[in-house]
């Protein structure tokens, strides 16, 4: 066939029979169509596996998070003590002897030069519209109004039960949104498509308003404002990210501290409490249960309704500090059984397999099967379960024979073009109508294949970073397969090692050409995957395991430091650095000599009166692609 076309193409004869032309034209057409469909499919596969990479890494990250929660709580509480000392000595706007964060918002001055939105209470819809426009223009709401808003919000939330019952009529359909994760543009798009909240346009937001995206604070402000204006028609469910410990790692705390330099810590402290006052579930027409995560075989809605939800500031397991007398009243906690009830509804995921098993991927909650769903729906005479918590490329998904719906409202979650978001509209039929959308920058005239390449590159960089921080273990395991020390192993062995060490279920054979070099005879040059990533600053003289640990936990350490850094100088004394490192490494069970740590601190150029610029220090452990490095 190929030969026919090339010779035909060269034959410029006027005597050409029309029949032959047609035949050849069709053959050429089929060839082009065949080729195009193949390219398109390959592009689609690349997009899919990129999303798989993002998802797997995200879940693995969450799992590791639970390891560090003890450390975070300890550091946070340690910080409060230091904070007390610092404040009373420098004399700040806090009256000594009281809880250092109880601050009267009235005392905060709003300068005349402030051009942002001003709130006056009680709020009404015109305030909300003004505020929306201001936030759309990326203006910042002054801390005084934020704190005032938070005070009012807490007051309203305290009145609500753990499980809110709402009714839907034909004149009053309800809209249900899932995870927003700081994507303000998605919230604005939903309001644009679906109308602003009102008595006749009720909404349920099913948790995970914050973390990961850049505008978590703005989203909270908007949600709380509408909650105050329409307290009976605007409902919020707590998500697993409405939790101060997760906020420390996944970006929300950082966002607040950056946007509100003077009052960020106060705002975060208030939010800690407010998050615990968020209701846990919503039930529509006594038939549709809406929770953030899911359920388990021990889920008991009556028990859930009765427990004191505000006692659960965080779902992470924290170590009790015997010496900490100040927090005595907070020590009256929920029972382990009650904690599990809440943990299950905030963290669980549905599964195809029957039964209910611990959720290994998340490190909390369960995997619940179709039988668990049926059991619960039957027990409480419910029709379906709507939940969020999981990324879905199309914004929504149905499982368990349509009885469990996942609704995810953050479009472009991993990268521009990665996925659509969706929301549900429901009337008394209780049949969900899904509306999908995707935020896209109008100026972004990217073609499909360019967009896929961007997503793929981003995913692969994340993966390469993970490979880099596991270098030691990977090299050891590779060496075991390569007894003769040839530097080469089979594709099969390579894939097996990558999966077992990185603990990520990925299509390794598909990714191979993007990650390592392979010889013409089919053997993998396993060391080649380390050639492309390195630390932003060369760290060759430093103990490799130390380097890897710092790379892996760089963001966590940055967060802890931000919380500790009272005067926001960005500096840490060598002593404090050593102390912090000691605590950190003991939690992780890493053994390193003091000299190694000192050497490490010294290897970073610092000349700020003997103090270490901590951010600069951590920047060195940013894992970068070699090509980036060369360009820099």
């Amino acid at each position: 066939m190929e030969c026919t076309i090339s010779t035909m193409g060269c034959n410029a004869s006027a005597h050409y029979s029309k029949h032959k032309y047609n035949e050849t034209a069709i053959k050429a057409t089929v060839l082009i169509q065949r080729w195009y469909r193949c390219k398109r499919a390959q592009l689609e596969v690349r997009r899919r596996y990129s999303l798989t990479i993002f998802q797997s890494i995200e879940y693995a990250d969450e799992q590791e998070q639970t390891q560090l929660s003890n450390f975070f709580t300890f550091m946070l509480e340690h910080c409060v003590h230091r904070g007390e000392v610092a404040r009373t000595s420098t004399g700040s706007d806090v009256s000594p002897g009281t809880d250092s964060y109880v601050i009267k918002y009235e005392k905060i001055d709003v300068p005349d030069s402030y051009r942002g939105p001003r709130l006056s209470f009680p709020l009404d819809i015109s305030h909300a519209k003004t505020l929306l426009n201001a936030l759309k223009d990326r203006q910042l709401l002054h801390a005084r109004y934020v704190l005032q808003l938070l005070c009012e919000t807490r007051r309203v939330l305290k009145e609500k039960p753990n499980i809110t019952h709402v009714s839907v009529s034909y004149f009053k359909e309800i809209t249900i949104c899932g995870d927003l994760h700081g994507n303000l543009d998605d919230l604005l798009l939903v309001f644009h498509k679906n109308g602003l909240p009102s008595e006749n346009n009720p909404y349920v937001f099913n948790g995970d308003f914050v973390d990961r995206g850049k505008n978590s604070m703005e989203i909270l402000i908007i949600l709380f404002v509408f909650l105050l204006i329409y307290p009976n028609d605007f409902h919020l469910n707590r998500g697993n990210h409405e939790d101060y410990i997760l906020n420390m790692k996944y970006g929300f705390a950082k966002e607040v501290l950056k946007k509100y330099k003077d009052h960020g810590k106060t705002i975060l402290h208030h939010l800690q409490d407010i998050f615990s006052w968020l209701p846990l579930a919503t039930i529509v027409n006594n038939k549709v249960l809406i929770v953030h995560g899911g359920i388990s075989d021990t889920t008991d809605l009556d028990s859930l309704n009765l427990l004191e939800r505000n006692k659960l500031k965080t779902l992470m397991k924290t170590r009790k500090l015997e010496t900490d007398k100040k927090n005595q009243e907070e020590h009256s906690e929920l029972t382990e059984k009650e904690r599990k009830q809440v943990l299950d509804i905030l963290w669980s995921d549905p599964n195809k397999q029957h039964g209910c098993t611990p959720n290994q991927r998340r490190g909390g909650g369960c995997y619940f099967g179709p039988d668990t769903t049926d059991q619960l729906l039957k027990r409480y005479n419910l029709k379906m379960l709507i939940r969020s918590h999981e990324f879905k490329p199309d914004g929504y998904d149905l499982t368990h024979n349509g009885k469990v719906i996942t609704i995810f409202s953050a479009s472009n979650y991993y990268e521009a073009g990665s996925n659509r978001g969706a929301y549900i509209r429901m009337n008394p039929d209780l049949v969900p109508h899904f509306i999908q959308y995707q935020v896209c920058a109008c100026t972004d005239k990217k073609k499909n294949w360019e967009r896929v390449k961007t997503i793929e590159q981003s995913a692969l960089q994340n993966l390469q970073e993970r490979i880099f921080v596991h270098k030691r273990k990977l090299m050891d395991t590779f060496a075991k397969c390569d007894c003769k020390n040839t530097g080469r192993i089979s594709i099969s062995d390579w894939a097996a090692v990558m999966e077992s060490v990185l603990q990520l279920k990925l299509p390794w054979r598909m990714l191979r050409s993007r990650l390592v070099k392979t010889d013409p005879d089919g053997k993998v040059d396993y060391m080649s995957c380390f050639c492309y990533m390195d630390t932003a600053r060369p760290m060759h003289q430093v103990q490799p395991t130390l380097v890897e640990t710092l790379c892996k936990y760089r963001r966590d350490l940055q967060m802890i430091f931000n919380v500790l850094d009272e005067d926001r100088s960005g500096l840490i004394s060598p002593n404090e650095f050593r102390k912090m490192w000691k605590i950190f490494s003991s939690y992780l069970g890493i053994h390193s000599h003091d000299e190694a740590v000192d050497k490490l601190a010294q290897s970073i150029d610092f000349n700020k009166d003997g103090n270490i610029d901590f951010s600069e220090f951590l920047e060195a452990f940013h894992v970068v692609h070699q090509l980036e490095n060369k360009a820099a």
Binding site: I32, Q33, W35, R40, N448, K523
Partner: protein, 174 residues
Amino acid sequence: MAEEGSNEDGVVAEIEKKITEAFKVFDHEGNETVDVREIGSIVRSLGCFPTEAELHELLAKVEEEEPTGYVHLEKFLPVMTKVLLDRSYRPIPEDVLLHAFEFYPFYLKALDENKSGYITKEELVKHMTEEGEPFTEEEMEEMLSSALDPETNAVHYRNYISLMVVDETDDLPQ
């Protein structure tokens, strides 16, 4: 760890793992089934370039007797293994593709011996949507979005092909 490569069984085992991996990318529910409409993507991701007709033939072999809309891995695996071992549906070399595109201008301008290097939008759309194994509207739109030069309203196919054949450069420098 056993040495593989020249071992016949080793080759088959490796192919099966490759197929399973590709299959699992589309196995959303984790139960070793995929939507029948994804089979085309899976086959193509494994380096094969079947025509639509060839794909339908393959589908007939892997579908259930009573079509459920799903394909099971256990049925797909042996069929696809054979396809790869037989090297069916091989890729199209770049120069052959070029000739296919070159054919149109020549066909339509029989007296014009210049291989002008482009084909107009109308010509391309007519052929792709009316002949051979016709494109759907979606497929046509997508092809145009990346192939069409909006200024000339034509497809400069040399450029287009070289862009599309660009996969290899995304791999690590060898």
